[in-house]
Amino acid sequence: MDWYFIIFSAVKIAVVIGMVLTMVAYSVLAERKISAWIQDRVGPNRCAPPFLKYIPGGQFLTRLGIFQPMADGLKAFLKEDFMPAGVRKVYFWLAPAVAMVPALLAVAVIPFGSSLGGQKMVIADLNVGILYTFGIVSLGVYGIVLAGYAANSKYPFLGGIRSSAQMISYEISMGMSVIPVLLIAGNLNLSQIVAWQGTHGWLVLYAPLSFVIFLVAAFAETNRTPFDLPEAETELVGGYHTEYSSMKFALFFLGEYSNMIGSSSMMVTLFFGGWSLPFWGLDHPATTLVAGIAHILVFIAKMLLFMVLFIWVRWMFPRFRYDQLMDLGWRRFLPLALANILVTAIWLWFTSSK
């Protein structure tokens, strides 16, 4: 076994997990801030550490709420971890972990940069990258279903049922929507899909319909508005995490945001050229350190744009009704995705048969 491989992989895992968790914490802040701006409010602007005066621009950062995630995290740890009587204990403990872990695992195959110092900037360069992601992401539903089942209470139960139906329905459309991408790029390896996009142009130009379906399905998969039926606060109190408190609740929360990060990175990787940019010579794998870092920054910037879109949409649309949701999933997107596969396949057949 190659020791360098193990060491570098461990370093990459640590850095990526750290980055993802930091981004999760700050996307919660972004959610609060953006919602505030959309609703004519100011949002969190009070949290400040006691050594604020030693931080340059501390007042401004406080107004931005930069220190809020630390307080939120601390609060989540210090709150009482209450377990209602009558819950199914094993599943009750298991559910938050099952919700959180797949969300983090899905990031493993995402190429977040081309190469840095000879190292490929992806934790696991799998040849079946997309299949792995779909497999792992579909595990996420178990966390929610288990939470709904274990809580032994009506609202979580309804949330769990809704979520299982919703996620299963939209997973099909999502999977179908990606097939044209695979047909065009001719590969399942995410790194090579990105490399293909570097030379041929972004896949969103080749398969815009796929992107639209994938985007909507991603919203449904991550339980975000307008598909947030599993946690519909106005109907189900809190949905599947009604009975959870303290860090267990926070894990569901973090899981949702990690899922958003995962979906955003998937969209960037599949449709928006991953780390590549069509100008400034950033469209081919990096050979210098500067270009490597630039690629990582490009990827993060693209991903953050999608995160903002996720958050923005939440404060824009009302929730779908359950039958509308099912109608949209099964009767609109699934046929569309199938037709999309067919059309792409025929087009590829005609263009390649010359």
Binding site: I34, A36, W37, I38, Q39, D40, R41, V42, N45, W312, W315, M316, F317
Partner: protein, 185 residues
């Protein structure tokens, strides 16, 4: 009642007009908040709203223009107080005499439990000496329950000064009005 719903046309069924409309509205609001600084939030401890006259805040005891305690320990407010927030200890035979000349006595101790007070204003209404007023303070802070029981010194120092005893003037006006009524021929 059956609500008549128009069937959506194809364009509307795509949800696109609604999506674009939503984007526009939210962007407009975000622009107004971020760039034009039109925020509806009032950041409380720094900014405070102006209270209307007659606002019923916390009840405090007041002093007259000669810095004397106005309260004469009649205990009417204690009696009328609905949540029993007021407790007055009368001076008794041995207690201190009243500060001012035309009063018989003043309370040895006057306590208002601000945790019980409901800011109804009955004490102010019932007071014959105009010694207690509901003032503008609504933000009462303490670290313990004991701290929230305000004693006489605290109430007097918070209450400030309302000079002159207006009730005799009012009584005089009332009497004069009565003398002139019914109109003498």
């Amino acid at each position: 009642m059956i609500v008549d719903r128009k069937p959506l046309n194809f364009w509307e069924k795509l949800y696109l007009p609604a999506i674009i409309g939503g984007l526009k509205v939210t962007l407009k609001h975000a622009y107004a908040t971020l760039i034009q600084r039109k925020v509806v939030t009032m950041e409380y401890p720094e900014q405070k709203w102006t209270l209307p006259t007659g606002y019923r805040g916390a009840p405090y005891l007041v002093k007259d223009q000669d810095n004397n305690t106005k309260c004469v320990s009649c205990q009417l407010c204690e009696f009328v107080c609905p949540p029993k927030a007021i407790r007055i200890t009368p001076p008794g035979d041995t207690g201190a005499k009243a500060d001012r000349t035309n009063a018989e006595k003043m309370p040895a101790e006057f306590e208002i439990n601000m945790l019980r007070c409901i800011f109804c204003g009955f004490c102010q209404e019932v007071c014959p000496e105009e010694a207690i007023f509901l003032q503008q303070n609504y933000s009462l802070i303490g670290l313990s329950r004991k701290e929230m029981i305000y004693d006489k010194e605290k109430l007097l120092s918070l209450g400030g000064e309302v000079g002159g005893i207006q009730k005799w003037k009012l009584k005089l006006e009332e009497a004069k009005a009565q003398e002139n009524f019914p109109v003498k021929v």
